[in-house]
């Protein structure tokens, strides 16, 4: 479904991704690990078309999407849920959600809205409330729900657990797993909580300074000494 070949991305003269290769193979959830500045968010922004690659190809369902507009890419079913959520604070929860389905018709949106509200029942009571009045966890649910309104085939998730309580994080990860396993959504997950990410992912990539240094299924990665030391907080944890 998603295949990235030799992807180079630069901000002006400064190249931050130096030839990334990612292939979903048979995986449903792929996670990208790496410390700050490794280029994880840059990678997601390039897939969703916010940034344009300097070199390389991004194939989605066999079609090259690297030259397309973000709106075109979104309408193909690639939905990006950004770091920091970026919900619209002065729009109601319902308006926020409906904007996620900008490309869908009203009837489709109605069905998808029911589906989203079943996933996040808490949003149901808050439909007419302004997005900015929700708690952090609810806002993250709104951000994911809004993304799901676009009926994604591929979901790009950037730090969904950022600033959230462990309990809320678990809840959100449960939904992500459900989406991948039951609804057939592919998930590309960027996450600072490497342990949790590897727990739900089938496969992981480790980025260091814009290069992919390690790739393997998540079981292997969890056992890998380097990964343990750098991202899982040592062996005694």
């Amino acid at each position: 479904m998603l295949k990235i070949e030799d992807l180079h991305v630069a901000y002006g003269p400064v190249e931050v991704l130096h030839g990334i290769n990612i292939d979903f193979h048979e995986s449903r959830i792929v996670t990208v690990l790496g410390s700050n500045g490794a280029g994880k968010s840059t990678l997601l922004k390039t897939i969703s078309g916010i940034l344009k690659p300097k070199m390389g190809v991004i194939l989605f369902e066999g079609v090259s999407i690297n030259a397309l507009d973000p709106s075109k890419i979104a309408s193909l079913g690639v939905v990006h849920i950004p770091e920091g959520r970026h919900i619209f604070p002065n729009l109601t929860v319902k308006e926020n959600l409906l904007l996620g389905g900008y490309f869908r018709n009203t009837k489709e949106n109605k069905e998808t809205l029911d589906f989203v509200l079943k996933l996040f029942p808490i949003l149901k009571d808050r439909l007419e409330q302004k997005g900015g009045t929700l708690s952090g966890g609810e806002q993250q649910m709104l951000a994911i729900g809004r993304g799901l309104m676009g009926k994604p085939k591929l979901l790009l998730l950037d730090e969904p657990s950022l600033g959230l309580a462990p309990k809320v994080t678990s809840e959100i990860f449960k939904v992500i797993r459900h989406l991948a396993q039951e609804e057939g959504v592919l998930v590309l997950l960027v996450e600072q909580n490497a342990r949790k990410a590897l727990d739900i992912a089938d496969e992981g990539y480790v980025l260091v300074l814009g290069r992919c240094v390690l790739n393997g299924n998540s079981k292997e990665l969890k056992e890998n000494e380097e990964v343990k030391k750098l991202y899982l907080g040592g062996k005694n944890v």
């Binding site: 890419i73 309408s75 729009l91 009045t133």
Partner: protein, 286 residues
Amino acid sequence: MFSLIFRGLATGSIYSLTAVGIVLILSTTNVMNFAQGDAGMFLTYIAFIFIVRGLNPALALPIVILVGLILGFVVDRGLMSKAKKSSHLGMVMITLALTMILEGLAATLFGNIPLLFPPLIQGDPIKIGSVILDRQDFLSITAALLIFAVLFVILYRTKIGIAARSIAEDEYGAKILGIPLNKINTFIWAISFGLAGIAGMMTAPRLSLEPTFMIVIQLKAFIAAVLGGMGSVMGAIFGGLILGVLENIIAYYIPSIKDSFSLILVVTVLLFFPSGIFGKREVRRA
């Protein structure tokens, strides 16, 4: 006193129409449109061409709205979307250039001599007891209210309107969702120029038609927008109406400060409400 307020509301509705256009463009595209008034001026000249040829002035209004929509579309597609790639300040400068181009064009095509513009509806003033209400004033207020109602339906009930509001809130968030920013920006420019045309048509009968007749309105609309909190459509509407009414009352009782009043008002309001009367007091939990 009632007719003072009424007359003030009529003037205020014109300020509001212009201010709303400015605020719509500012909040979605971040461009301060200095050409809002002059776009209205030019569109009114276009209406005048039809009117001299015998068209009923009231029927010229839909034509002006249509031409305004087209002009806004052309300005965005032809100038703004191109300039966006290079510099934001460039876009603001283009609106300034537009004022000069439009004024120059109007002067060249139609001359500098003030022309008498007919009222959009004929007929004697309406008398209610001792109060005399001008039909044209009545029209301005009704038209403005009607248009604001339509505008709110667009902004709150249609997909494209809600999308426009989302861009005003968080452009990056909207872009990443895949909302087509370019299309919506064009839509907003078109609507705002439509509003400019209406404002021009409402103003011309009370002043006279000349290339610079909308400059004062543009200035007052800025003040109205600032009063309303720059970025809130509702604020711009009320800012315009309040300014119109207060100005008219002051002009009657203290004529000596008539011209400086709007500036005194804006300074006073900003002193107590730094973000305008309707300025965003954001409801947001961290």
